[in-house]
Symmetry: C2
Subunit: 270 residues, 2 copies
């Protein structure tokens, strides 16, 4: 199934806009797993299985695996999600961006090696650098637009013809890059006003919105400013607040509770 | 030794501004290596050993390894360069860019896991996304500025206060990001006029210039417009024209010949 259809189906099936980000910090893995040689996998699988009912997507962050040479853990984790929770799309958060044949290798990394349904990419190099991803019409291509970090405005806010760079990115993606209808954008929950502007630029395109958990984004403002006309259109991602809801033996149940509460808080604001 | 010192030393020691990009295409590995289960490593090691005398740096491109799950090959290749050619800096071409703790994981990937001397990064997310790399004062942080691809101008050329975005990036990096003197910029050889503008913006900062080989950049124009006052300041990268100078048994000798000729052509234009 195409990413975009899988996502739309899952929004309704689970009645959820919540995405759980899988960014495991080895130093915060619960102590009782420390003896397990496969602790990161065991931890992430438990989080996935405990929270699956409450999510529209999972978003593993590749650097957290690559920094410690754990690519095979990531491969197995994504395979587990597909096998155990086949209706939940997997977004590989890798923010790739390179040119020509190298971009093709990155597309192969995301879609063949890791079998992700969608991938995050960086727009700075222009459309031809993203085309090898866009050409996979069944896969989602989620382009960085206005990121959630405090310094995101350094370049993204520079004004060109009266509009900030991030809105030029949003408009180019919506008007020029989206021939296959497989594009989405990243806009941080920490910037609700910018979210409203992007939504006005891109119609009902899905927006991946990180930062609603530990980074402190305001859920009601995000919903008010970012939802599409049908009150979907958002993938609201939380990582640490769910992954590390408890550092004890009860971490999976605590993650499930945190995910359920977060999903409900989102739905209350819809 | 700090990357920048290692690079300056090597420019003089080898009398070379040439960098060989290690972007192995499995389909173009010479046929007589096909029976070797470690063919990509054998191929790259032979290229490294044959061309080492003629280069100021090696630049492995990570996607070419990651697409096929060959991270351990890349680890061993970089370890081989450090062991056999300790005065030659290794630039990991990975164009990373992410926020907060994730950026720290990417810095760990580049500098601890792969033991690279320098890494390429994407500026779109702003300085705070690059700070975890910049904090490694002994490592080089090479920021994308004006890339070599045909569509690089889509965002990089947008005018802000009369100056294109890529010059804002160049100036910010030179004036704000370079407290440790460990920054450099990427400017494609395919854009000699833009190279002159960047050089005027950043003083003697090193510029990594891909695109002099198969991509067709004009070496004389690159030297004229891009060299620093002392006729160094450039890392001129060629990949395919050297790696695949011959597809036969003589590939290593052909690569050595191509690298020597390229170095000499560069030096003639200095």
């Amino acid at each position: 199934m195409r990413f975009i259809d899988k996502l739309r189906h899952r929004w309704h099936e689970a009645d959820s806009l919540l995405c759980v980000g899988l960014d495991p910090e080895p130093s915060r893995i619960p102590r009782h797993l420390h003896g397990d040689p496969d602790a990161v996998f065991a931890f992430c699988r438990a989080i996935v299985d405990a929270t699956a009912s409450y999510v529209c997507a999972f978003k593993p962050q590749i650097a957290h695996f690559a920094a410690v040479g754990a690519e095979s853990t990531l491969e197995r984790l994504i395979a587990h999600i597909h096998a155990a929770h086949p209706s939940i799309p997997v977004i590989l958060d890798s923010k790739r961006g390179d040119i020509g044949s190298t971009a093709q290798h990155y597309a192969r990394e995301a879609f063949q090696r890791y079998a992700a349904d969608a991938v995050t990419v960086n727009p700075y190099l222009g459309q031809d650098s993203i085309q090898p991803f866009l050409d996979h019409a069944d896969k989602g291509v989620i382009v960085l637009c206005r990121t959630s970090n405090p310094g995101s405005g350094e370049f993204q806010d520079l004004l060109i013809d009266g509009l900030p760079l991030y809105r030029h990115v949003a408009r180019r993606v919506a008007r020029e890059w989206n021939d296959h209808g497989n594009c989405a954008l990243v806009v941080g929950a920490t910037w609700p006003e910018e979210l409203a502007q992007v939504r006005s630029d891109v119609g009902d395109m899905p927006l991946l919105v990180p930062g609603i958990g530990a980074q402190g984004g305001d859920v009601a403002a995000v919903l008010r400013n970012g939802a599409a006309a049908d009150r979907t259109g958002l993938i609201l991602s939380s990582s640490r607040a769910i992954l590390h809801a408890s550092d004890g033996d009860d971490f999976a149940q605590a993650a499930a509770d945190a995910a359920r509460l977060q999903r409900d808080a989102i739905n209350q604001a819809r």
